[in-house]
């Protein structure tokens, strides 16, 4: 099985489990520095997850900011039963869903981003093709039913372990694995349809 790029971030978060508790206790005591440190440790992973979900860097940045605003407000209700990042990911995902469902009042007049194309080490057409493929995959993932979509995005794009997702969803790890299996089947058929 291929290694996940998000794995490193997840490991990092997991490794800092004990540290996270200390920071949370400090935040509860009113320590602003502890809150800033927690942001430093988690915001890039949150941003990455959101960026994969929405496919727009600026939007992902806005949604990340909104996620933290919600997190500060909801922090007193965080019971510490899950990892802080797991909890934060759930907020980020909900924030994304709310954004998707929100009626659009503005239309972007910006040009489509071409940031990734600036990588000079690879041929431009290869990068474009890869981007198109990843966009197709993202679109297919977003077409999945809600429960499967959350499971797939949380696992692959949020970097959450199956056990953690099972904890959030309050179901067994076996059920999560079944969800992933079903999601793969649907994704394959969606991607095949698109190619045809």
């Amino acid at each position: 099985m291929a290694s996940f790029p998000a794995q490193a971030e997840r490991d990092e978060v997991t490794a800092r489990w004990g540290e996270e508790r200390r920071l949370l206790a400090a935040i509860r005591g009113g320590d602003r520095t502890a809150a800033e440190e927690l942001v430093e440790r988690t915001y890039s992973a949150v941003f990455a997850s959101l960026c994969r979900l929405c496919g727009d860097r600026d939007l992902a940045a806005d949604l990340t900011q909104e996620t933290y605003q919600k997190a500060w407000a909801a922090l007193p209700r965080f019971d510490g039963r899950s990892q802080f990042f797991t909890w934060l990911y759930r907020i980020a995902y909900t924030t994304f869903l709310n954004h998707v469902r929100r009626p659009r009042r503005t239309t972007s007049i910006d040009e489509p981003e071409a940031e990734e194309i600036r990588d000079g080490s690879r041929p431009v057409d290869e990068v474009i093709e890869e981007n198109e493929e990843s966009e197709r995959l993202r679109a297919a993932v977003l077409q999945l039913p809600e429960d499967l979509r959350f499971t797939v995005t949380a696992h692959f794009w949020g970097g959450l372990a199956v056990k953690e997702i099972a904890g959030i969803e309050e179901i067994t790890t076996v059920a999560i694995r079944k969800r992933l299996h079903r999601a793969f089947s649907i994704l394959e058929s969606l991607l095949t349809e698109e190619v045809q």
């Binding site: 509860r28 942001v39 994969r52 993202r138 793969f184 394959e188």
Partner: protein, 470 residues
Amino acid sequence: MTSKRKAELQRKLSMAPLPKPPDGLADRIKRDIPNDLGMNMARERERFSRFSAMSLRVAASVIVLIGGAFLGIRLLSEMQTKNQPPASVVSEPAPKPAVMASRADVEKSESNAVAVASAPVATQKVNINRQEKGRAFGGVVGGTVGSATAGVKTEAAPVVAQAAESKDDAKTITAEAPVTVAYGTERDALRDKEAAEDRATTTTMAPAAAAPPPPAAKMAKSAPFVEAITVTRSELFGISVDRQAFERIKFAIEHGERPAASSVDVEALINYFAGAPDRVRRDAALDLEASLRPVHDGSSTALVRVTVDTAAAIHDATLEIEFDPTAVSAHHRIGGDDVDTASESIMQPSQSVTALYEVTLRPNVRPHQSVATAKLTYVSAGGSEQMLNRWVSYNEAIGAWKNRTRRHRLATLGAIWGETLRASGSGADVALKAEELSKQEPKDEKAKELATLASASSRLRSSSPTGSGR
């Protein structure tokens, strides 16, 4: 889906570009960190504890409310249960003021005394008359005796009074009564009661008494404790199947007290002793059976039993009972109002209801002539409309009681015992018959129970006052 394809999909999902956060995003997020984080926590904790306290208070209120309501209902039902056995005892103090008032009325005017059925003075008068006139006149007295126990006025009373005023009139009425059944001198009161009910339901017998409702219904309207029983009793097709009625009577007899005549629910007793069948093959069963009375007195009076049993739930059930006028001169439902058609919106599984009719048969009827027809229509649990028809012939109706089913024999004995209790009769013959029945079938607990209670109640008659003026 192949494992290769699955692995490829996993790789694609995992290898999605990992974008770097834009510069300044961390600062933007940090700027949003509230300054009063700690205070927020405290506020939130306070808010949470307030919310919890409020929730607890609401939950406690709801629990107290539900608990209170439950306790209230429980207490009410217990009070009712406690009140009911005393209500069935003759020495009930409640009716006394009514009796006293009636006595006062009687003393005021002789003509008023004639109109007041509950006055012991009037009852005594009539009893004397009965002694003078013998059994034939006793049939008229019954209406007075039955009413006297409840201590209320009845519409039938004037008829009785008129009968008391004129011996000739009284004799005429008694002679015309087609349903005059007697098993012995000690059962005069029962016969009186039947005659009074017949007057209330059969226009051919006594036109003056035909219009008013039966005395039992009148008593229920006038006496509060009887009304309470009427409200709480459970019925099917308008027939009382209240098991508590039997328990109350049993309770009173076992405690050495004779149940008050007005509190005896004869229909409920019929249903208690008829009981349920061993099994019902279909969703519902209709049973029609007839025989002469358990103690045959030579009269042409038969008892027709109609029973409905359910094995499964049925809906929109209608029960129709029809008596052939060419074979039957008069009929009435024992212990209840004479209704030809009754409906029940739903009957649960394993329910049974029995009605018992007393019919006066005409002479010179062909043996296979139909006496009664019963029809049960219902919608089964499966939604299909069903109809059951049963009929009983003249030959069967004049058949011996001892050849009938145990259920029929128990139901009829229960009915006669109930009527005996209502009429303050002895019930010794019922006890005898029940004893015979229990000897035939030693495992029959209900027959034993009936024999024991009927025997006990017959002894109570002589040892304790009944309050009926005797």
